[in-house]
Symmetry: C2
Subunit: 365 residues, 2 copies
């Protein structure tokens, strides 16, 4: 049985990395007591809290944290009609936080995620590990059998081409979960008691051309490199689907990272995921997605972007057209989603005016 860390206060104080260059984005509908356990690790950073649901509700944030909070009224006010691209009554609303941040890096975490322990019993500073992942290169073009070659005590193995050892910039660090695994509703129903107790001490680059199921529970990314692709779609209130927000962002992000020569890492750090969501509720949210993903994934696997798409924004707009053309046939929902993808980019560029042109990643634009 795995258990969360109960004593994080005594965790050795470390110099907080990227203190002024990273925002922590938290979507929530409740008081943020979970931050108490994270205090030694998160307190130096700025928080962006995206309050979902009833805007009149007061969300309590523990003393001492530096934060800004946006509820639905704020989102509507800031984005005007473009607020339609931000989901309501779904944690997909978190992507509004990515848009209003002015920092280079984002770490996002769910409010039911606690500090996990490594096999030695030490509290895991998840954010620190994400920062290590994202500040070291990725290796998407060839697989290294000893995993991340940039970690202490590791390197490239025999047979790894030297020309590829410089790696590419890392855009995304995808962390994992001990205790409650991130299963879909059918798997939750079939295995209600399964807990993830296996601590895999690895970080690895997801190879170019390979898609993966990106979970938004414990995720870090470089806003400058990939931010505009981190749109969590239309989910929840008024939409036919939920629980595919992070998946959608992951598919789009991976295709664009592959096109732009950026890396995506997965593995460490673990957080402790405390409670399983209701599988019956989840099934209702997911069931269309379970059908649709059988067509969406081949679509993304086959998607290619043109040479003219030299910025994330251009890539994303090109992808939105392909979504409309190819997935529109699957369900009218994808027409609406494709339009929302465009609105999202418009809103992003409005809130990030200098970034709109500065975000070319290959120096050609």
């Amino acid at each position: 049985m795995v258990e969360p860390a109960t004593d994080t206060k005594s965790a050795a104080k470390v110099v907080p990395l990227l203190k002024d260059e990273l925002d922590i984005v938290i979507p929530t509908i409740r008081n943020l007591d979970f931050l108490e356990m994270w205090r030694p690790f998160f307190e130096p950073y700025h928080l962006i809290i995206v309050q979902d649901g009833d805007p009149s509700k007061i969300i309590k944030v523990p003393e001492g944290f530096d934060y800004e909070l946006y509820n639905r009224n704020d989102i509507n006010k800031i984005l005007g009609p473009k607020a339609s691209c931000i989901s309501f009554k779904d944690s997909a609303c978190r992507c509004f936080g990515y848009m209003v941040s002015k920092k280079k890096y984002i770490f996002t975490i769910d409010d039911d995620c606690f500090v996990a322990k490594d096999p030695s019993g030490k509290a895991i500073n998840a954010l620190e590990q994400h920062i290590k992942n994202i500040l070291s290169p990725s290796t998407p073009f060839f697989f290294n059998t000893l995993y991340d070659p940039y970690r202490d005590g590791a390197d490239f193995v025999r047979g790894y081409p030297f020309s590829l050892r410089e790696g590419v910039p890392t855009a995304v660090s995808h962390g994992l979960w001990l205790n409650i695994p991130d299963y879909d509703a059918p798997t939750q129903l079939v295995k209600p008691l399964e807990r993830n107790t296996r601590y895999v001490d690895a970080v690895l680059t997801i190879p170019k051309g390979t898609l993966f199921p990106m979970c938004g529970m414990n995720l870090c990314f470089d806003r400058d490199l990939i931010g505009p692709a981190m749109y969590f779609g239309l989910m929840g209130d008024g939409q036919p689907i939920g629980r595919y927000d992070d998946m959608w962002a992951g598919w789009c992000t991976k295709v664009i990272c592959d096109h732009l020569g950026l890396g995506v890492k997965t593995g460490l750090p673990y957080i402790y995921h405390s409670k399983a969501s209701n599988p019956f509720v989840n099934l209702k949210k997911e069931y269309k997605g379970i059908f649709w993903q059988e067509e969406i994934i081949p679509f993304f696997q086959a998607a290619t972007l043109s040479k003219d798409s030299t910025t994330v924004q251009k890539c994303y707009i090109e992808l939105s057209k392909q979504v409309k053309e190819k997935l529109g046939k699957v369900d009218p929902y994808f027409d609406k989603l494709a339009d929302a993808m465009v609105t999202w980019i418009e809103a992003w560029d409005e809130l990030n005016p200098s970034g709109a042109s500065a975000k070319a990643t290959n120096g050609k634009a």
Copy 2:
């Protein structure tokens, strides 16, 4: 500091899996005292020992093991002129053992590999883990973030397409090494003291379309599914290159597995690799390979096979033609290697007559 297991005799006796369906292939130039430590795990199995170097030397095998041994004279006698495809004075000679085996599965291990311990201190039965890997499916078409979904306590995560959850047959299980990592000569020279102490408790499928550096030190495969692709090339005596035997086999194997819809797993089990080879000697063997791999790897990354190549043999012959055509320009060595690839298949089919036509993996041939 990692240390090998010193007490394997007390390891709980397990029912040996695939006892009559697996051969252990060991290339060697010395007495096989290392088998003493492996006795509890290997004794139930049949060994195929391929003696390299001076055939008049007597190789001692500890009492109680069931084995057949082939020296160079035997190889020449069995293969006649086709013996030219089997390397001499290089562990690449091991692939002769794959060819003469009559079993479905092969496990091959180097004679400087000992039993490793898991983090709890328990001696690792490497062969048992390989068998588990190879008897469970692979998932090359989509990445599962909790690694091998078929292991106890794991499953497919949310967002993994249900249509892909059956997986595909696993053709190869690639194991890793604690203590001395499998580094090339330049890395050995730069990091003479680096030891691998990180036990990563994971098995994962290498995605379709991704190449990897396959090490022959601790490797298991399904002979029926992929055997004829496991040719370790022309290395050692009379050849301009060494230490690329397993790499060559790995590139060819992966391309063919991808084409035939077969899986390749890497990760567990670990063995304890006891001693680093001489980096100066290695540099001499490797230096051409270090140049050449910069052209070989893009060649294999771009290689595609025709629909008519429905058996491993047909795939391998098609690949040999592409090697001749495209890599022949890099160095005349590849002309010779391409010819040896054809000879290897001829020799394989001669020794495995029924298999030559029966080995279609997709039921179409």
